[in-house]
Amino acid sequence: MPDKNKTIQEKMDELNALIAWFDSDDFALEQAIDKFKVAETLATDIEKDLKSFKNEITVLKQKFDSEA
């Protein structure tokens, strides 16, 4: 099952790997339904993450107008 602590990139990598599995020689019908369900959950998670994530912008306190 998708892990909530994973980054978007990790989830996307996992989804890509799952999708590649469907086209690979390892494909087995017995596992396909379970893998499809995982892929669907991952896709929903990724979409939710992408929509909700905000950027964290910090203006550095360091001054650059003269040599420190």
Binding site: Q9, M12, I19, F36, N55, T58
Partner: protein, 363 residues
Amino acid sequence: MENVLLSVSDFVALTNQTLEYAYPNVGVQGEVSEFKISQGKWVFFKLKDAESVIDCFMAMWQLRVPIEDGMTVVVQGSPKLTKWGRFSLTIKAIRPSGEGAIKKSFEILRAKLDAEGLFAPERKRALPRVPKKVAVISSIEAAGYADFIKIVNDRWGGLEIDVAHVQVQGESAPDQMIRAFNYINEREELPEVIVLIRGGGSADDLAAFNDEQLVRTIAASRVPTLVGVGHEVDESLADMVADVRAATPSNAAQILVPDRKDIIRAVRAQTASLLPLLSRTIDQASTQIREHMWGALANIESHLEGVEDAIGGKRLILSQLNPETVLARGYALLRGMPKVGATIEVETAHAILEAEVKNARQK
């Protein structure tokens, strides 16, 4: 002062004190002539206009842009009377002024840095596809910075952006940007990309991005760099030396992060493509199973037919051997001893008879 008698040295010192008080830092624009560098350390030239001329002196390390005779420049410096009685300007900063001079200085420096290989494609490093930690060097008051942040926020989330607020225009801008680059590069936790941005402006406004030391600092950055300065038509040495060059600050934002809408569309399309694939695979598997079953059935049937044929043959042979069949053809079955006077049993197809042997002879 009328009755004060000064030595020559004291007079020179007093004059310098007065000048320093009156003109601690004066800006002068003029045309350069008799430009020369002495011992690789000192720079001497004259600054002139149609009517006047003044000697100028500066340390070589303060010369940040290429200067040639005939160039119009703006200098920042302080006037001084030397102990040999010559009046000169001690220059702290010099920059080309006017389109022609800026362009000429730009071309000279570009050729020099290009010859050193600073713009070579093989030096360029790729940016991470989706960075997590980014440093931005810009003025937070600049329109270009606001455009960049807006587009980054629209396109992507989850980024940690540290912003180094610096001047991006004017005499102190190159040094501030250099300090920001050095500060970021020396931090314990490095970002994955350093983005340097500034919106559009005149050639004079963007001159800071053609500073030789800034260009060398960008080239030496441990962290991959993305530079977007000015409008699309603007060209600066800072963006030429960057690992990735953006046409504008907005374009830098587009290069830095993917668009979440595109990713969502792609993810949806990817998972949606699995369903038909899955049902196609199931269909193929069931067709294959059905074909195997038909094949097996056909095999069984053909085997059965063979067995039936064999049984039929055997049955025919058996029926030929059946005594009833022989009796039906008119033969009779005799039981008992064939001796004269003995009673024997005669079995035909339809009756069983008892008979007495009246005569018996050898054949």
